[in-house]
């Protein structure tokens, strides 16, 4: 039943989803902005890249990059008008943007309109998806550890306080959205070159929500979590394929189970490097010592009466 060809196909899909989810993770998990318009960025990336490869004979890798950059430019445009909106309003604006892109593409006969665009060269392979993923993950990890990433996290934590320490909130939100759109555009371009056929219907709101669910399932504020989330939630429907229509029920149940068991997502705020560090500390016995020290400290504190620290 599981032939290599089948598994390879799923793995490529996983890789593509990882790319998009990484971008969305930066926006949602690290900057604290929810977007329901990422299918729109994917569509821009896909259509631009496909136009490049099919009509202009641009090499595949360059076309993907152009697709990503096109999505990024679109995000700068949309971000300029919407990033001053607060919380939910931004969310609604992105939702509108995503649907608008789909409807525009529906009516653009030059790229096939609602009938779609067939005959795209199948250039996406497992190898190049993995390579692009690794580059994407590394760049994201470096970004998060840099001052730019830290400023984005600060905005997520306390917007007013980050302004008070001189962070240009609008600029960093814009950076976050632009990089997020770049990833989504690249993901969309890869997807188009894997499926071989694109139509506006593929970039509906459900696609955006699917990606957001993956980010939340994996855990907000964690790159590892996003990768794991994309992996599990892409594989799960395939594993449950035998259950026919029931598989969506199980998919939903799995997401709800995670929400109840771990509201912060599977790996919310935890990175794989943290786990390595924890294992290392356990092996060297440092964890045990730290725990003992903390307990001794606690006992010493309870012996002193009237020491109200006001801890919550």
């Amino acid at each position: 039943m599981f032939s290599w060809f089948y598994i390879e196909g799923i793995l490529i899909l996983v890789g593509i989803n990882v790319m998009i989810v990484l971008g969305l993770s930066l926006l949602t998990g690290f900057t604290g902005l929810f977007s329901f318009g990422h299918a729109g960025f994917m569509a821009i990336g896909a259509y631009v890249a496909v136009t490049c490869t099919m009509q202009l004979d641009v090499p595949f890798y360059l076309a993907i990059l152009i697709g990503g950059i096109a999505a990024m430019i679109a995000s700068l445009f949309i971000g300029y008008f919407t990033l001053n909106l607060k919380g939910d309003y931004f969310c609604i604006a992105t939702l509108g943007f995503g649907e608008a892109i789909r409807l525009i593409l529906d009516n653009m006969t030059i790229v096939g309109g609602a009938r779609g665009l067939p005959g795209i060269p199948l250039d996406t392979t497992l190898v190049n998806v993995i390579v692009i993923d690794i580059i994407g993950i590394m760049a994201m990890a470096y970004l998060i550890k840099s001052r730019h990433g830290r400023n984005m996290i600060a905005i997520r934590e306390e917007e007013l306080a980050s302004q008070a320490i001189g962070i240009n909130v609008f600029r960093y939100k814009m950076e976050s959205l632009a990089i997020s759109a770049l990833y989504a555009g690249i993901g969309g371009a890869l997807w188009a070159h894997y499926v071989g056929f694109i139509q506006p219907l593929m970039f509906q709101l459900t696609k955006s929500t699917e990606m957001t669910i993956m980010v939340i399932f994996g855990g907000l504020g964690s790159i590892t979590g996003s990768v794991v989330g994309a992996f599990i939630l892409t594989f799960l429907p395939e594993l449950l394929r035998e259950l026919a229509n029931w598989r969506l029920v199980f998919y939903g149940a799995a997401v709800i189970a995670i929400m109840i068991a771990r509201p912060q997502g599977m790996l919310g705020g935890i990175e794989i490097t943290d786990m390595f560090r924890w294992i290392k500390r356990t092996v060297t016995g440092e964890n045990r010592r730290a725990k003992a020290a903390a307990e001794a400290d606690k006992e010493a504190k309870t012996e002193l009466p009237g020491e109200g620290g006001g801890e919550s």
């Binding site: 590394m138 760049a139 994201m140 470096y142 970004l143 840099s146 001052r147 730019h148 990433g149 830290r150 400023n151 996290i153 600060a154 934590e157 306390e158 007013l160 306080a161 980050s162 302004q163 008070a164 320490i165 001189g166 962070i167 240009n168 909130v169 950076e175 504020g221 705020g269 109200g308 620290g309 006001g310 801890e311 919550s312």
Partner: protein, 304 residues
């Protein structure tokens, strides 16, 4: 001594309510300036006006002679609204911080999920200058670090940031708590961390909003020493809001008293303490309770 901060006829109205009315004062360089008044007197509103969280209704604020806040020049109406949106460029809160005014908040606003170290490290961001593109390039690979120029600047600047953070945390006595998540710190240390974070930007003027709230007497005394030491070490000017009279009287060079958004008194601690108007505003007087409303209405700045 030069004037650091100058408020001239500063007024802020929220609809019909005048939160701050016609307040004028000047802070000289190196001073610790106290801003006191009963609850709801408009002290925090003044902080928000200085840091551009709110825009002025009337008046102006200048910092080292340079105007940093001006009143809204446009009236009501749709066209004026458009003009205000596109043609008027008042300084934003982050630009105020860049100019050298940083603040703490009355209700602590730390980056709760980050560690103490990360909180201050984030705030140090102005000391580094590498670009977004540089930040996504590999930097842990030793050879690249030595060969490629961008990695070198990034590596050097990041190391500097960490060093600066370490110094600040040690100065504030928070170094032992560096790996603790900010939300788990005891209350007094959270206040200290907020001050450390404000200092990370090398400000010229530090605004402290009730730094001693929720502290016990010993902690308050320690805080007084700390504020004085910070002022001397960093060459700062400090504007402080506080209800804790021991701290205000022991620490401040000059005090400004607000009541119902209006200036009530200004002067040295001794002058303010002996001012009957101030005593009345804080304690109230039985016979004059009926007159209270009018008193507040008059409210001109009285130099005792």
């Amino acid at each position: 001594m030069t004037d650091v901060l100058k408020l001239e006829q500063v007024t802020k109205r929220f609809g019909g309510l005048t939160a701050v009315g016609d307040v004028t004062f000047t802070i000289k360089e190196g001073e610790i300036f106290g801003l006191i008044g009963p609850n709801g007197a408009g002290k925090t509103t003044i902080f928000n006006l200085i840091t551009a969280v709110y825009t002025l209704t009337e008046g102006k604020i200048s910092f080292y002679g340079e105007q940093i806040a001006e009143a809204d020049p446009y009236g009501p109406g749709f066209v004026n609204g458009i003009k205000r949106r596109f043609a008027w460029k008042p300084l934003k809160p982050f630009q105020i911080a860049e100019k050298g005014i940083t603040r703490t908040f009355q209700n602590i606003r730390l980056f709760k999920k980050l560690t103490t170290f990360e909180n201050v490290l984030t705030a140090c961001h102005r000391s580094a200058n590498y670009s977004l593109f540089e930040s996504i390039l590999p930097r842990r690979i030793p050879i690249i670090n030595y060969v490629l120029p961008w990695s070198k600047t990034l590596w050097r600047e990041e190391t500097e940031l960490r060093k600066k953070t370490e110094e600040l945390l040690k100065l504030m006595g928070l170094w032992d708590y560096r790996d603790m998540v900010a939300a788990n710190l005891p209350y007094g240390l959270q206040r200290k961390l907020e001050i450390a974070r404000a200092l990370a930007l090398d400000p010229k003027l530090l605004l402290l909003d009730e730094p001693a709230a929720g502290m016990n007497p010993e902690e308050t005394l320690a805080l007084m020493d700390l504020i004085r030491r910070i002022r001397d070490d960093f060459g700062l000017t400090v504007l402080i809001i506080e209800h804790h009279m021991d701290l205000i009287m022991g620490l401040c060079d000059k005090i400004f008293v607000l009541n119902f958004g209006k200036a009530l008194a200004e002067g040295t601690p001794a002058q303010v303490q002996n001012n009957p108007k101030v005593v009345e505003a804080y304690l109230g007087s039985a016979e004059e309770e009926a007159k209270d409303g009018e008193e507040a209405g008059e409210g001109d700045a009285a130099d005792a």
